[in-house]
């Protein structure tokens, strides 16, 4: 009797320890997932020679498109290792500190468009000038301009760009009695985001079920601002966000959305937003090319053939990255060669076929082939045509060092207060002003 009690207690203690240990380990795993390096190597079988490391955030599609394996086959002496940090807010500070310390960087570092100006203005001497290594005319002019310093040094090669279109639910539009043909629709709102918003008022009059016209006011703001040349800074690097014509136009369009009933009031890339695609709670979303895959994945089969794509009111850009070679890289020569190869038109086209990341090199546009599944999902819309038209006409935008935090202050404080808490646009603007001052305070 007694012994059995003791053994069972011992077994129980063991179970506790085991449970705790697995719990802690699981904890580490989940934490890691959202934080530090989730290292993943490019391929096996290539031992010896040089190992070139590439540091990225999120999915770049190189591995998915098999580019690493292909390159290693072409260059038997080279092994590629990709270090992925999924969260940009973790990736960029880490990269900044490593660049300045001059150690710990990867041989190739990815730079997000929101950080490129900061890199150009403060880290230019930490990067190799790639302008001498490549034929710059391959890239879109505005893409090159973003990564070029005042004295003409190119610190990063453009990967993808984010030309904008409007993704809309054909079936919901039909029920609401709106035009469903993509070219006629595009003509209805061409040139002005306010026309796009006005159509929303029409939609809401006969909106099917509980559906809304657009996912959020912030997405309209971001999309509209993506087509303005004047943003938060002027050419000399002065903050002009509160006088900027681009900000004013975009803010007003967003306020129209936030104060009328046409927004589903979701926050992009939040769980409820994902569910919004699956449940079909909104009829349109401003979609840069890279968002197509996301929409397709989150909507699942329920959205197949119901979504369509029309040209956006103005040619606009949202997102896109660069890859640069830090001077601290130990294998500069190999790294430059790899960066050149990865961003060449042929490779960018391969990434597009797999990941729908849109090339920044116009010569790739002729041969672009989106995946068959994506085309059928979006009702056979001429995706490459729509996005390349947009990409070629996007204006050169002036960025500044704190573009990203200023943008977040406007969308996540100013617009969100109006949209979610029923504040007046003036109150929202005041809150955003206060927030931007806090951001710029040194």
């Amino acid at each position: 009797m007694r012994t059995t009690a003791r053994t069972s207690r011992r077994a129980m203690t063991f179970a506790v320890v085991a449970a705790l240990a697995t719990g802690l380990l699981a904890g580490c795993a989940t934490d890691d997932d959202s934080g530090s390096d989730g290292g993943s190597s490019g391929g096996a079988g290539n031992k010896g020679g040089t190992t070139v490391t590439i540091g990225t955030f999120g999915v770049f599609g190189y591995k998915q498109a098999g580019l690493y394996d292909e390159y290693m086959k072409l260059h038997p002496g080279v092994t590629i290792k990709e270090n992925v940090t999924t969260r940009t807010d973790v990736y960029w500070p880490k990269t900044l500190t490593r660049l300045q310390a001059g150690s710990g960087t990867d041989d190739i570092q990815a730079i997000e468009v929101g950080n490129i100006t900061e890199a150009v203005q403060t880290q230019a001497d930490k990067f190799v000038d790639l302008g001498k290594e490549v034929d710059k005319s391959q890239w879109l002019d505005w893409k090159n301009a973003q990564a070029t310093t005042k004295d003409g040094k190119l610190i990063g090669l453009g990967t993808d760009v984010g030309p904008m279109a409007i993704c809309y639910r054909k079936d919901l539009f039909e029920k609401a009695g709106l035009e469903t043909d993509r070219t006629k629709l595009a003509a209805q709102w061409k040139g002005d985001w306010n026309k796009y918003v006005d159509l929303g008022k029409q939609y809401m009059k006969k909106a099917p079920g509980k559906t809304k016209y657009v996912d959020s006011a912030s997405s309209v703001y971001n999309a509209a601002l993506g087509g303005e040349s004047q943003r938060y800074y002027d050419k000399d690097g002065n903050v002009i966000w509160d006088k900027s014509s681009g900000v004013k136009k975009s803010w007003n369009a967003a306020m129209e959305v936030a104060t009328s009933n046409m927004s589903a009031k979701l926050k992009q890339f939040d769980k409820p937003w994902d569910q919004g695609f699956a449940n079909g709670t909104f009829a349109t979303v401003a979609c840069p090319a890279w968002m197509l895959g996301y929409i397709q994945e989150k909507s699942g089969d329920s959205g197949k053939g119901k979504w369509d794509v029309a040209a956006a009111p103005t040619a606009a850009n949202w997102g896109g990255s660069f890859i640069g070679v830090p001077t601290a890289s130990k294998h500069q020569k190999e790294a430059i060669a790899l960066a050149k190869w990865l961003t060449a038109p042929a490779q960018q086209a391969k990434v597009f076929a797999k990941q729908a990341s849109f090339p920044s090199t116009p010569s790739a546009y002729a041969g672009l082939k989106p995946q068959a599944a994506t085309t059928t999902f979006f009702s056979d819309a001429p995706l490459t045509q729509i996005f390349s038209d947009s990409a070629k006409t996007i204006p050169v935008q002036v960025f500044g060092i704190k573009d990203q935090p200023i943008g977040t202050a406007i969308t996540d404080t100013g617009i969100l207060q109006v949209e979610q808490k029923g504040k007046s646009p003036a109150q929202g603007w005041d809150a955003a002003t206060k927030e931007v001052k806090d951001v710029l305070d040194q």
């Binding site: 506790v16 719990g23 699981a26 580490c28 934490d31 807010d89 569910q275 969100l416 207060q417």
Partner: protein, 343 residues
């Protein structure tokens, strides 16, 4: 009587044999080995004496070296940064700011808002959590079938990672599709926008903290309760005290030091609250909601330092947090002393 005599005798003998209790360890050790080093001047005996003196320091040094490298140096470096204008993108280009960062901070609404939130979230998470923990511990202190199972179950939330727990709570508190609004709807209460309403978001964040830490504190209380001699309860029962009276007049007074300990630990935890509100906020969690309604000091520091890149200001926030913790510790010390005197 006899047992205490025995105990006395035993302690006397153990004192005799206890190493180093009556004579300095070094001398004793030398005697013990005796034979080898005879002359006090030989290098071997000197080495030996040096070894006896230095070894203990060598043995405890790993902690202090690691503490110095990973705690003390960063602490001082942060203090240095807090007196400068420093941007994350330009670490070498710092300029002297004196106390500017601090004066700016004390004039900033965002700082006071974060401090206020840290305090209110701290109170509404710590108080219910500790009360629930005592109650749970009291229940578990009774004879129960499978008591170990209950104790293990209580500790599981603590073993869950913050990230996993918070993600589940985010789903529960989702305004449109969450289970909590659905349940409220069943009883006829209007849905709450848990992320954007002021008290709603704070309550939601607190609930994650309470869920994670209640079992942990309950186990600490339980351990303390089991150390209370049973005869106290017996005599209380003889005097006619019911269970509630026993709890109030025997358990609580005997638990006082333990309660103080948990209060101190929970207060420190509450002041540093970071992971739960960050993940609860979703995509731009460092803002703590559109009106910063659940932005804690930890979040504000992270936002300023790593998102916005104002490292000098972030360092000033870090040091302010440190000073606040020192004040909290001092207040706790005062209260402890008071209580001891009153006993």
């Amino acid at each position: 009587m006899t047992s205490s005599d025995e105990a006395l005798a035993q302690s006397a003998t153990s004192a005799d044999t206890a190493p180093g209790s009556q004579e300095p360890g070094a001398a004793r050790g030398a005697q013990g080995r005796g034979t080898a080093p005879t002359g006090a001047g030989t290098w071997r005996s000197r080495l030996y004496r040096w070894d006896m003196k230095a070894s203990p320091y060598a043995f405890i040094s790993p902690f202090f070296i690691i503490f110095g490298a990973f705690s003390l140096v960063p602490l001082l470096y942060t203090a240095w940064y807090s007196l400068h204008h420093v941007q994350l993108s330009n670490l070498d280009g710092q300029t002297w700011a004196g106390l500017d960062n601090y004066t700016n901070l004390f004039q900033s609404d965002f700082f006071w808002n974060a401090l206020k939130n840290t305090f209110t979230i701290g109170v509404i998470s710590t108080v219910p959590q500790l009360i629930a923990a005592i109650w749970l511990a009291h229940m578990l202190n009774y004879r129960l079938r499978g008591s170990t199972v209950w104790r293990v179950v209580m500790l599981t939330p603590y073993a869950t990672s913050v990230a996993a727990a918070t993600l589940v709570f985010v789903l529960l508190f989702s305004p449109d599709t969450g289970m909590i609004n659905w349940a409220l709807d069943l009883v006829g209460i209007d849905p709450v926008n848990w992320r954007e309403s002021d008290w709603g978001s704070q309550a939601a964040v607190s609930s994650i903290v309470i869920w994670r830490w209640t079992g942990y504190n309950a186990l600490i209380y339980l351990a303390a309760m089991q150390a209370i001699p049973a005869d106290l309860y017996e005599s209380a029962a003889l005097d006619g005290a019911n269970r509630w009276q026993q709890f109030r007049h025997v358990t609580i007074p005997m638990l006082r030091p333990t309660i103080l300990f948990t209060v101190v630990v929970s207060t420190i935890g509450a002041t540093q609250l970071f992971g739960e509100p960050l993940l609860f906020g979703g995509v731009s969690g460092t803002k703590g909601g559109s009106e910063h309604q659940y932005q804690t000091l930890g979040l504000y520091m992270y936002d300023q330092g790593w998102i916005v890149g104002n490292l000098g200001k972030a360092s000033a926030i870090a040091w302010s947090m440190f000073l606040i913790l020192l004040i909290v510790a001092a207040v706790n010390l005062l209260i402890t002393r008071r209580l001891r005197k009153s006993q």
